[in-house]
Symmetry: C2
Subunit: 341 residues, 2 copies
DNA sequence: GTGAAAGCGCTAACAT
DNA sequence: ATGTTAGCGCTTTCAC
């Protein structure tokens, strides 16, 4: 049979369709006997309830929208793809489908919303990464839950899953301090981004806690975007200004890779002359020489966490406002080493 | 009104729901007058037909499945994400939703299929990149159209959108020959992959057509995967064997990046001592020094092309078997130069 | 413990 | 040119 329906199952099992439905939902007021019988037929017929029919009566789509900007999605570092994979995995566990759509990074207030929002074809929305404020504002009258991952514009209003950026910044910086470094530079871009700002705050915390003096001259946050090229540029400005730097904490791996390029091009050996540590852990093994020390961000887990939250809200019909902090982890590879006097 | 239905529109417009439906479908046997009236109400109410209800009666989900392997999706080079974006864009144009799911690269014949296939929640399937044969074989009794992008295992059976790899290989190699190079090496990995094999075939064609002698010694196709590290290894073997190589054609950009790394590490200047050209055009600007010459693959366009094909097949209910070849383009940047004697 | 029946929002065949 | 109606496959209330 091409597409068995609940009727086919009922007929073959000599029960009513209501009974089949109850069995499918594992309702307790069904005798074990009928349950077994029906289940066997279901298996035999390879019956699966129609999502459309089910959605129609439940007034639920069974879909979750996943939104990020086009340039985040197309980024070289597979950061958001990992988050998506986590979400997709957990959606599967909870029997949801994911509808992935990108919005323009320069979304204007008059731009059309994703179709699945207009058609109410999603029960909830997961938004990954920084998205344009005009887009978020257009969502203000949405009636479904919205969860932010790795970004939170109005954290009083929405649930979110964030990286513990402050802790990460502290970990990275403390690691360098522990290794005996005194002149530890920070390079960052898009400093208004809450994540970047927090990584810098972590850096500052660690410096202060250690008794070292905070030197604004070796904090370079001029670039507007934390990418490779800008990492190169930041390193260039830094080393031209101050030759005594022995360690660099880069706000992310991408900028770190750029900075490493600058150092290599200018005879600064890593880690002999200068240590460097990144953030995110998105540089695949062997891609960079030496292997980059970094702060690992649990990308997949953040995706699953967001979806778990979503499933919970949907199942309990609650509109709670939860904020979960994903733990970070220091990963020491070859680009950082104990200073030798 | 929270969720206006066709009834709400009908009531407010003083027409039957059938009329509303006809207007929505722009049926011609509706007078302009009623049409305008109904359309105005639709606009005012912000009415959108329910995908579930529509799908139920049409016996169509309105969804297209997009499948690729997990490791392709998580790859550093945003190759498949571009293809996906193209598909998603075109799906939007044709009012389809895309359900993206990954399958394990080592999918076993007993593994469960993606849920949307079991639940018949897709009207068609787009498969991007090489996927495990066991997976494809499990699909053999599928009743919906399947289209392959950038891979085609049984090209007699399914429609596909492929890169013109032979042409690309010829373009790259001819470019080097035109620049006066005589010793042009080829590096590749996973040589059984049809795309890689064709790129090598293009290389051979160009060499032969030019009258140069084909030298198997400078063709390195030992690696099993065309990634960076393997590009490094291949270059190492090649240059240790033959110092006279003046140009390298890498089967893709990833291996080219690895090869460049080897050359840099060993004092081989690019392009002064050796030219190198890649394939795919996935290395973002400035990411690599010098900028990599390559063969551009129209990734987005391939995605849109696949979706166009799909929409066509679905709308005309045809099961045709079409093969479209996406055109490639030579991109000359800084890593290739005319040989100086 | 099980069945009958209403109805979710829509399309399409048929009636007018 | 427009309306009436059956039914898509399912969930759920209410009878039995």
């Amino acid at each position: 049979m091409a597409n068995p329906t609940i009727k086919d199952v009922a007929k073959m099992a000599n029960v009513s369709i209501a009974t089949v439905s109850l069995v499918v939902h594992n309702h307790r007021r069904i005798s074990q006997e009928t349950k077994d019988k029906v289940l066997a037929i279901i298996e035999k017929l390879n019956y699966h309830p129609s999502p459309n029919a089910r959605g129609l009566v439940r007034r639920k789509s069974g879909n979750i929208g996943f939104v990020l900007t086009d340039d985040h999605f197309l980024r070289t570092e597979p950061f958001y793809t990992h988050i998506f994979m986590g979400t997709e995995f957990e959606a599967h566990e909870n029997e949801f489908y994911i509808l992935l759509t990108t919005v323009a990074a320069k979304f204007k207030i008059t731009d059309p919303l994703p179709r699945f929002i207009l058609e109410r074809n999603v029960d909830g929305l997961i938004i990954a990464g920084k998205v344009p404020l005009p887009f978020i504002n257009r969502l203000s009258k949405a009636t479904f839950p919205i969860i932010f991952v790795d970004y939170s514009p109005y954290d009083k209003k929405y649930s979110c899953v964030l990286v513990d950026n402050i802790k990460g910044g502290e970990l990275a910086t403390s690691h360098l301090i522990e290794y005996g470094h005194k002149k530890i530079a920070f390079i960052g871009g898009d400093i208004e981004h809450p994540s970047i700002k927090d990584r810098l705050n972590g850096y500052k915390n660690a410096i202060e806690k250690s008794g070292l003096e905070l030197d604004e001259n070796i904090i370079d946050i001029k670039e507007d975007y934390p990418g490779r090229t800008n990492g190169y540029n930041a390193a260039e400005r830094l080393f031209k200004k101050d030759k005594a730097i022995t360690a660099v904490f880069s706000c992310n791996d991408a900028m770190a890779v750029g900075a490493i390029q600058y150092m290599k091009d200018n005879g600064i050996r890593i880690p002999e002359d200068c240590s460097i540590i990144g953030f995110d852990d998105v540089v695949s093994d062997n891609a960079i020489e030496p292997a980059l020390s970094t702060v690992r961000v649990p990308k997949m887990e953040m995706g699953t966490e967001a979806m778990k939250l979503m499933a919970h809200m949907l199942k309990n019909n609650t509109k709670e406002n939860k904020k979960v902090l994903a733990p970070v982890e220091l990963i020491i590879r070859e680009s950082t080493r104990r200073i030798c006097l």
